[in-house]
Every structure is written in C-alpha cells, then in structure tokens.
Amino acid sequence: MGWAIALHGGAGDIPLSLPPENRLPREAALRHCLDVGIAALKAHKHPLDVVELVVRELENHQNFNAGKGSVLTTSGTVEMEACIMDGKTKKCGAVSGLSTVVNAISLARLVMEKTPHIYLAFDGAEAFAREHGLETVDPSHFITPENIERLKLAQEANRVQIDYTQPIQKEVKKDAASADVDSQIG
C-alpha cells in the first residue's frame, strides 16, 4: 500500500481536434496540480489537506470550469459549488450559489469543520465566508471573455452544456435531426 492521487479538470465532448493553444495550457495545469499534490503527499500532509490544496490550484486556473473561469448562468452570473469529504470519518462540507468567494472548496471545508451542518448555500454561505475571513472578490473576477462567448452561443442554440461541449447552432441541430431520420430509414 502506498499513496496515490488522481485529479480531473472536467469531462465532456472535448474535440479530438482541440487546438494546441487550448490543449497545452490545460495539460500544463494538470501537470502542475499533480506535482503540487505529489509534493504534499510526500510531505505527509493529510489527504484532506492535499485535495483542498490541489482543487484550489485548479479553481485558480481560468481554463477550468471552477473558480476563475466558471461558466455562466442564463443571467450571465456565476454560481459556484464545491464539496469536500473525509473517508475515515465521513465528515463532509458543501456549498452552493457562491458568487464572490475565491476558493469555494476552502469554504466547503470550513462548513465541515466549523458548523454542525453539511451544506450551506447562497446568501448564508456568502455570509459565512465573510464571517471567517475567506478571500472574496467582485463577481466579475470569475467571468472570462471566453465564457461570455460560450453563453451567447449556448443561448443562441437554446441549450445547456456540460464542460467543453461544443455549441450546436440551431441550423446544425436541424441538420442533425434530419440525419437521424435518414439513418432510421436506413
């Protein structure tokens, strides 16, 4: 038995033709975050500290959908969520509806450690973050030009999208539907 770590930066319809300018920064970020986690485990930090540390790094990277770089709601706002859990004790903490907290995962850990509850959301979670001095910023900090464009395309196509899914324009959807019909005809 030895230590082990795994991390992800989201799943979805990631095109095989993903341009290097989009792929390389994400691969570099994954490598960096993995190195951070490995170093922490080698330093005998508790896995709870390790996963919080690594997720904070991922949240701070604007190419991933969490923290800075979070995708936008129908209203063009961010509503971030996070959760943390310890295996042996099953202690856990979760937060939702955050718009100003820089690292949602650290707030989730505070919920786990400083409240009798498991889950805080929206105004209550924001107030709890301020009470405990967590770093907060203007919501605009999290919004990137790329995500404004993604929202625009998603709204034009009238759909919601998971991470990295390529937007489908209305005309393309129509073509795809036609293709399905053709396929069924055989």
């Binding site: 030895g2 991390l7 319809d13 990631i14 994400r26 508790h46 690594v54 709601t73 989730a108």
Partner: protein, 131 residues
C-alpha cells in the same frame, strides 16, 4: 468541474470537487458536485470525484455507488468504477477515484476528460481522450 482524490500511506482517503456548473444553467440550479454521494463521496474503501452532466450523476448516485459496489459486490475499485460509469447513458459522466490500498482509476463515457494521476510506485499519467 475540477476534482481531486487522494490516499496516503496509512489508507486515509479524501475527495474534493468544485464547479461552475453548466453553461446557460438556470439561476438557482444545484448540480451533483455538492450533493454528498452524487458527485463527491469518500468512505473507508475509496474516494470519488465525478464530472459531467449533474442531473445524470445525481440520478445515478455515481460516487456513492462506486463505494457501494466495492462493499456489497466485492469488486475492485477499477471494476466498480467501470460498472457504475457503464450504467450512466453515454456522454454524461467521468470520475476519478482511489482506493484505500492505493489503486487508481479514471473512467469516463464522454468523448474526453482532462485527468491526471500518480502513485507512490512511480506510475504517472496525464490524459484527455481514451488511450
């Protein structure tokens, strides 16, 4: 979504997940990430962090199911995670998981998943699409 799972030399396990949710989601929508047992779960056997379409992950209680299949069917982490991911309609889920014995797995049924892992014996992997 981003997430991380880890186990130390003593078998202590932990998981963490963080997300902005779905593009164009309704205001007030809650996804799988903060729902214990859906997108995030850890017990004495394994730690799991999921990503994908939250509504499908909640319906599948994906993270908890991996632990339950290990506990009640006696499968390995790799087998349990593959089984659970297979139960979710294609294109909807990916996860990373580690077991208390240092096993690692990163299955997904989407086109790709940004992922990385390492173990004490020197194994390391960074990937996006299936091998």
């Amino acid at each position: 979504t981003v997430g991380c799972v880890a186990v130390d030399n003593e078998g202590n396990l932990a998981t963490a997940t963080s997300t902005g949710g779905l593009v164009n989601k309704m205001v007030g929508r809650i996804g799988d990430t903060p729902i214990i047992g859906a997108g995030t779960y850890a017990n004495h056997l394994c730690a799991v962090s999921a990503t994908g379409r939250g509504e499908m992950i909640i319906r599948g209680t994906v993270a908890r199911d991996v632990a339950a299949v290990m506990e009640f069917k006696g499968l390995s982490l790799k087998e349990a995670a593959a089984y659970v991911v297979e139960q979710v309609p294609p294109g909807n889920v990916g996860l990373v998981a580690v077991s208390s014995t240092g096993e690692v797995t990163m299955p997904f049924n989407t086109t790709g998943m940004f992922r990385a892992c390492a173990t004490e014996d020197g194994y390391s992997e960074i990937g996006i699409w299936p091998d």
